[in-house]
């Protein structure tokens, strides 16, 4: 009995150590936090258009179909890394993309899209970052899955990856489309 008691501190240590180690070993990023806005209506903002020939973003524009809303900026390195994935989504017509250009110089953003391609159906300009705060954005890039009713259903922090896309986002898109008919 008493020996088991002697082992107790070791046991407690092992439990605590395991609690802190497992997320590291499983590569879970401790910075990732669930959005509190999941299943809530996406914030409606009137965001001016970035490009002359492409509409901006009005409060009603997020409704109607399942879509991805991507916050990006030309000064943001990880945005560059995820851009080919967005281009591919656009080329395949997998899901409509809405861009929100976060705290950027318009000419820099336009040049950036010209260099890397423009996958977005609409691009709104969030010059002062206020819209991003309403979306709960920490930093670009962030991507939100918005359903046909205009509700946020999923939030992806950081650059999109093939894994996130294939394992989570695209299946959710299918599910939402099937669910809503």
């Amino acid at each position: 009995m008493s020996r088991v008691l002697y082992l107790l501190p070791l046991l407690i240590f092992a439990v605590i150590a395991g609690y802190f180690t497992i997320p590291i070993l499983t590569k879970k990023d401790p910075r990732l936090l669930p959005s509190v806005l999941i299943d809530k209506p996406a914030p409606g903002h009137d965001l001016p258009a970035l490009l002359q020939d492409k509409p901006g973003l009005g409060p009603e524009d997020l409704k109607g179909e399942v879509k991805l809303v991507n916050f990006f900026a030309s000064w943001c390195g990880p945005c560059r890394a995820e851009h080919p994935i967005l281009m591919r989504l656009a080329a395949e017509g997998a899901v409509p993309l809405v861009g929100i250009n976060y705290k950027d110089r318009p000419e820099a953003a336009i040049g950036w899209l010209r260099e890397l391609g423009d996958p977005f159906g609409r691009i709104g300009v969030d010059a002062d970052g206020r819209a991003a705060i309403d979306w709960g954005v920490y930093g670009v890039p962030e991507t939100y899955l918005v359903d046909a009713a205009g509700h946020i259903r999923h939030r992806h922090v950081g650059p999109l990856t093939g894994k996130a896309l294939n394992d989570t986002i695209l299946p959710m898109v299918e599910q939402l489309r099937a669910g809503k008919g």
């Binding site: 390195g77 560059r80 890397l116």
Partner: protein, 494 residues
């Protein structure tokens, strides 16, 4: 090496710290035992004293009995403590100590080593503070990813004091004589050495405006675009590499980067297709081979794809005799990409210099409208500048002057039917031109493709199928356009 010495010293120190209590416990124990003996002696004295007290009548029988039991119990407790409570003999205790020491001496370093082998990365280079910026890191990665056998360039202009002056001199010279394609190419290479990738892109564009068919330059600009984009493969670079790949299907750099573009677009299957074919075509001693193999393993592992099976399929797919097929004749086939690459060059060349050059050329051609070479150059220049309407007119003039020159006729066709045009945009003029091309070169892949396109839009599925089928036969088994063509044929229906 230093790392292992330091790690060894640290491990040794840790073992010492852990062994200390185990080993020194032996000495303590002896002292404890002695103290215990003393205590026993004291209790013993107390017992004799109690007996004397009883004899002298200072204690009653009951009191004596109670006191004696108390002292005896204390003796027992003391002796139990001496034996560590479980009555283990000194021999067993020694054995246990030995076992603990052995465990510490062997298990600790073994566990540390195993963990390190699993998690650690001994080959990881230092990342000095000066290098810790996004740009520096990715630039270096991009440089390492170059499958070409180019010697590693020293980083930064500072490393090469001569280069800065050379660049300045070249810039001067080109200001005076902007039509020097070799000069622009040299300047572009110098920019690459000094890591001014964006300027290198522009300079390569200048050179290419004058010699658009120089595949080496197209490949070099593609690479400059990649480096300017921090190792990402932007659409413009993809276009360049596709053009290279069309002209020289075996060229490794373009194949590597086209695979990289797929990988960056989260399409591991597409990336592996490019890379496994490239790996199979690469001689065992090719300098890029190790890199390609490594990327295949990485991407395969990340996506959970069995690359061994893909490799086997690739081997089974090609004739046993032609292992590294560097000598296989390139099979040029027209593709969407090819058409696109030919149609729109980089948009970065809008400089006053080219404008004036073009204007001069255009004025001269108004007076000498029979200068075929002039029209060809003007058409290309307009194409680069994005003045498509004027480019089309120049192409038409060139085509008028050289009715039997296949290349010029094809260029005209591409100008008439630029990439991205919906098929409804096919005009009678274009159809007539395609007929003409088919007459002068019945086997031309481009002619076959366009002929099929015209037939398909006119509802003549049989002819379209025949022409595209003939084209398909001419294509190599790995031609990137194959899939596109097969889809088109399928879309024609039964």
């Amino acid at each position: 090496m230093v790392f292992w010495v330091v790690a060894g010293v640290l491990t040794f120190g840790t073992i010492l710290l852990l062994l200390w209590p185990v080993l020194s416990a032996g000495g303590e124990d002896a002292a404890e035992r002695e103290a215990g003996d003393e205590a026993l002696a004291v209790y013993r004295d107390q017992l004799s004293e109690l007996e004397r007290d009883l004899e002298a009548g200072r204690l009653g029988e009951e009191e004596f009995e109670a006191a004696r039991v108390e002292v005896q119990r204390r003796m027992l407790a003391a002796s139990a403590e001496q034996g560590r409570g479980d009555g283990a003999s000194p021999a067993t205790i020694r054995k246990r100590r030995l076992a603990a020491a052995v465990l510490v001496i062997f298990l600790l370093p073994a566990g540390a080593l195993l963990t390190y082998v699993g998690v650690g990365r001994p080959g990881l280079p230092d990342l000095p503070l000066a290098k810790r910026t996004d740009g520096a890191g990715t630039t270096r990665m991009a440089q390492q990813s170059q499958p070409s056998a180019q010697p590693q360039q020293p980083a930064g202009a500072a490393a090469q004091p001569g280069v800065a002056e050379m660049v300045a001199g070249l810039e001067e010279k080109l200001k005076a004589n902007p039509e020097d394609a070799d000069g622009w190419a040299l300047l572009a290479r110098s920019y690459m050495v000094t890591e001014r990738y964006r300027e290198a892109v522009t300079a390569y564009g200048r050179a290419l405006a004058m010699v658009p068919d120089n595949i080496q330059l197209v490949a070099a600009r593609g690479e400059a675009l990649v480096l300017a984009a921090d190792g990402m493969v932007p659409p413009a670079a993809v276009e360049d590499f596709r053009k290279v790949n069309m002209a020289q299907p075996q060229e490794p750099r373009s194949r590597y980067y086209l695979g990289l573009a797929r990988s960056q677009a989260a399409d591991p299957v597409g990336a592996l297709k490019w890379w496994i074919a490239l790996e199979a075509d690469s001689p065992a001693d090719a300098p890029w081979r190790a890199l390609v193999t490594q990327r295949i393993e990485e991407v395969g592992a990340e996506a959970g794809i069995d690359v061994a099976a893909l490799r086997a399929a690739e081997r089974a797919n090609r004739p046993a005799s032609a292992a590294p097929q560097i000598s296989r004749a390139p099979v040029p086939g027209p593709t969407e990409e090819d058409v696109k690459a030919a149609g729109e060059m980089s948009a970065e060349d809008r400089s006053a210099m080219i404008q004036s050059m073009v204007d001069r050329l255009a004025t001269r051609l108004e007076q000498e409208p029979d200068d075929l070479d002039g029209w060809v150059r003007l058409a290309r220049a307009y194409g680069v500048l994005g003045r498509t309407g004027e480019a089309l007119k120049a192409h038409a003039n060139a085509a008028r002057l050289a009715p039997d020159d296949l290349q010029i006729q094809l260029d005209y066709a591409r100008a008439l039917f630029p990439p991205g045009t919906p098929e409804s945009g096919i005009t009678d003029e274009f159809a007539a031109l395609v007929d003409h091309i088919r007459q002068i070169a019945p086997d031309s892949p481009d002619g076959l493709f366009y002929g099929g396109l015209v037939a398909a839009t006119r509802g003549d599925a049989a002819t379209a199928k025949e022409l595209w089928g003939a084209l398909l036969e001419r294509m190599g088994p790995n031609a990137p356009a194959r899939g596109m063509l097969e889809r088109r044929i399928e879309a024609l229906g039964g």
